[in-house]
Subunit: 361 residues, 4 copies
């Protein structure tokens, strides 16, 4: 997969910088005949939108998406779909003072070293604003998965800055997740998390968190050994999101401390006449292929790098300096990351579904 394209058959190519003209995506390979309008995309975009609550950045963007090709008379035609959102509340001047300095734990230095040039306006291409395009494209994938295969994807905040919720993946619903601004299905823990984030914001600090995800209704057979196993593609997709530092599926790191006799999932016959694992420590994948059990996985996000504390760094000229942020930013990214995790999951699954269809002809 080339740098700005994801997927083999259902291919998403994103473009755009944080404070440039627009961000968006071209979706190529979407099957024809899917009913589609911007109304299908906006809800997920609104869940990702800045300024949506007290605990997110206060940048004001409506994030209105336009579909400029690939849809005719209300349905997809099988040709490339152009999705564009124009940047409205861009304030490049806010970043002039960052032109010649490398923000700690940001991509300023590495982008400049790699490309020789750097768009310093809000991080340019390295900004999480790019994930808008992923969410828009993912919403198409999600609709197709839901309507044609009955697949349901629910991500949620599991931990924030060390505060952790116990979430039952078997029962958690989208409604539970949207019930509070933290998107943590445990209301009490959510309140605790919100309080923590507000306190950190007041202190000019930030924190990280963990997003969990469950996918229900995945048919048996998705995943392409040996290199494009289901966990490998999910890992690729999720580790490509800004600030993600870890991914685990099923029992994950905890499972590595277990014994086989405790970890193995026995098989029994399911009501649908197919074998199914009695337990699901595997997280829904056997040998890299979906088993029909729910997919369950977790994604670790590091703390937001932009903080108001004074930090030691260097300028482009190699001078030591000190930097303290004063812009608009999220003290904790996980509430807005929930729809991004869902979107990337949908992109992985729709592509694997089409790859499996191509195999069987």
């Amino acid at each position: 997969m080339p740098a700005n394209t994801f997927g083999e058959i259902f291919r998403v190519t994103t473009f755009g910088e944080s404070h440039g003209g627009a961000v968006g995506a071209v979706v190529d390979g979407c099957p024809p005949g899917l009913a589609l309008s911007t109304a299908d995309l906006q809800p997920d975009l609104d869940r990702r939108r800045p300024g949506q609550s007290e605990i997110t950045t206060q940048r004001r963007e409506e994030d209105v998406i336009h579909i400029l090709s690939g849809v005719f008379e209300g349905q997809t035609t099988g040709t490339p779909i152009l999705l564009v959102a124009h940047n409205r509340d861009a304030r490049p001047e806010d970043y002039e003072h960052l032109k010649d300095v490398y923000r700690p734990s940001h991509a300023d230095f590495t982008y400049e070293a790699k490309y020789g040039v750097r768009d310093w306006r809000g991080g340019g291409r390295s900004s999480a604003r790019e994930t808008l395009a992923r969410v828009a494209a993912g919403a198409i994938a999600r609709k197709l998965l839901r309507e044609r295969l009955g697949i349901e994807i629910v991500a949620y905040v599991e931990a924030v800055g060390g505060v952790r919720a116990a979430v039952d993946t078997a029962t958690v619903s989208a409604g539970d997740v949207e019930a509070n601004m933290m998107r943590c299905p445990d209301a009490q823990v959510a309140a605790e998390m919100i309080a923590l984030v507000k306190r950190l914001r007041a202190e000019g600090d930030s924190c990280g968190g963990v997003v969990g995800c469950v996918v229900r209704g995945v048919p048996v057979g998705l995943g392409e050994p040996v290199f494009d196993k289901l966990p490998a593609l999910l890992g690729h997709a999720l580790l490509s999101i800004n600030a993600v530092k870890g991914f685990e599926i099923g029992s994950g790191f905890a499972g590595s401390a277990m014994r086989g006799s405790d970890h193995n999932d026995a098989f029994e016959m399911g009501a649908d006449g197919l074998p199914r694992p009695v337990t699901n420590r595997a997280g829904g994948s056997l040998g890299g292929i979906s088993s029909g059990a729910d997919l369950t996985f977790r994604v670790a996000f590091k703390p937001t790098a932009t903080i108001a504390h004074a930090q030691q760094t260097v300028t482009r000229d190699g001078e030591a300096t000190t930097l303290a942020a004063a812009g608009r930013h999220d003290p904790c990214v996980v509430p807005r990351a929930v729809p991004i995790v869902e979107a990337m999951t949908a992109l992985v699954l729709v592509d694997l579904h089409l790859r499996q269809a191509g195999r069987q002809a």
Copy 2:
């Protein structure tokens, strides 16, 4: 990337089943002019080889590799390199009794559901024997990285079944790793791990573990935002290895519980005149691009699924049955996984290096 091919420019396509005629790989896109013979590949293959110690499977394979194309007068020519190892100690008859039953936590069921047919001889293509090809191809990548860029990759066993070593990534060396059969650089903890594995084998049980890895000498600029960020490609590569359930880079999951003010890595000027992070919680990647700091990451392996305990499962005809393994297998895969982790890491880095070279023309 298609199912059995890894990489964009340095491309490895593996083939072969556990008890078929041969396993191996075609390596396409290796730069010309690299001195290469089988002697460069054999050491890593020997580290992955079955039967190498008391704590690995007793299958006897010499794993002798042949180079049948792409090398002329002792150096690579830029044309595809065919690597082949013939299966010698194949005993398909050992698996006849597994023809009609699905082993728990194995890929038998999902392969059959996906492809409609299944090579039941030792797991066929789903066997970890396929990783032989990865190690052979990875050894080529590794040599190139070492000779042309001075990159050094050291993986090691960090945890086995809950027994955990504290490894200093700044100092751990290949010599430390190879000092014992567990490949854990802490000799005392290694002894404990070995004792545990022997005990589990005696009990007919198994366990999982964690492999850590450090890469030194990575130039600034490797990694291809937005989808082929360095952590995303490493995650993809490592999660495609059999039995892997988790991947984290730098501070990983633990970092998600931290505050930004504790987590951020300040910059200072390095001796080479380049900015460098003072600390390295990022694990060597900023914005998905290598920063020049060491890459540090961890890979979680689940317990070996094959155990001697009686387990509940079902047959291909949907009948409930009980299964207890009696074949040759590893009670814990991590000592043999060390060179596999190194090989996949090398494949990621060599490909990113060539992609970056292609950009700058």
Copy 3:
């Protein structure tokens, strides 16, 4: 290469329908640091533009291109470049009568059979309006080839409806080509061609033609055996243009009637100290790799399918019917095809250049 993307490293993904919202392209993989503005793209777009002369379609489109990402402070940043041109003179209502009928020698029937749906407004995606995006993207490639490698690409009309010019590939210049509206460097033959096209238009008929192309300054070594040989990629690129039915390089079809002793190109030493072919029947490629000699090739275009003559066809319901066009169209596409041929050639060469650079690291 996926359906709407061309290139491995310098990748162009086009989108848009003839009478939809916009047409354009995302260019990913363009090296950073190239000075770029819309002024670099507009001249070639103007050469492709409808309504540019008496012998082209009278659809009025300014074809103004916008760059919405990937360029900062006047130069490319190495991130995706979004190019968009909005459709202005779209008149979908002109095509309502074609909603339920398949135009002979057009793609109406095959698109509908393939995708199940069809955008009947001016051929939708199958319209040559898509080539606007190719020309815009190709102009970027062309600038890079010219500035960094000194490569010059000159295409020209060689034949129209059987009227043929003898063009000396060694001397033909862009100025010769642009000297008349036919883009045939032989002014006298051009006049004959123009007269023919005007006569055919008056008769409601159309004709085909041949576009020749020469590329000077190509370095030795471009082309990727065995499947991405230079002639193979050029053929792919040029045969993907609407209405193209044939491609030949060097001596081409005529060469197949020759003897080896007459056809072979002897080598001599060039002034630059490199071997070079004395003659160039090979057309600049040996074994699929550029030899340093000029690339010379020819592209055959079929007659425009849209004619005013009554033609037999069938409706979507399978009824026989008769159709005569009354829309705006080109009686002969070759004058406007000249910049399209150049653009696709540039895309092939820039990509091969970057692939070769990636090899040598």
Copy 4:
């Protein structure tokens, strides 16, 4: 598509040099459940084999192919299929004298310039011996197309050194083609061609030719606009064969001299209830998508470069010298090229078939 791999879903990666250890291919993405043994591959390999008649090279290779993976109990499993043929009659010593000289119209100079090294044994990778792998892989594709879709591919020699046969594409059969060693379905013209080739061989000279091809039973809908149109992929595939200098589909170059009113193919309803073109000047493709009509195309091969005449050339040191071949070679490649053309055609069609299947899920 990377250098040595062809296809998106049904992917063939070839390897091997003319006088190295082996030549062959890995076929990845072949659908499971296809009955397959070497007996399915050998007939086409025998048609391509050197030494098969008086008018081909006298190199003696049995070209026995082995299947080392991907087939279990007589059928494909959906995993990679390794095909290997060992080189037996390799005589590298025959080429020692060519080590330091560039043969005219061969790839010696360009390979060395591109890769920095060169396998001078019989052209190494640039030898047409590589096409053995294409024919073996193509035979798998062909079987699948025949058995699952009823597609029939017939290529034939249409012209040799200016001697031309008039072949009726509607009726020509594989039997007609195999009736003589020239593979020209017109027996009388074939005799003339054979006489010419024998005379040229006696004179130490060579000639080129044209291979025509018809494909029957292609379903409507194959081809992937806008860049992977059916003619574009066929052109890519066929122009990647050694010595090919031209490709045309349907009316091709001749059609470019026609008027639209003479060239257009009217539609009528077919017996199967689908629209079909009454004539077929399009050659079976409309808008880059198969129309259900026969595919018809032509491929131009240049004269064999290896001739016994003394030719002017240069050495690696830049000295002028004279060279006359004395090795084993074909005076005209087209009889052996017939199965190669068929194989590449099959690879294009099977891949497009699987891509179309993937779309519709």
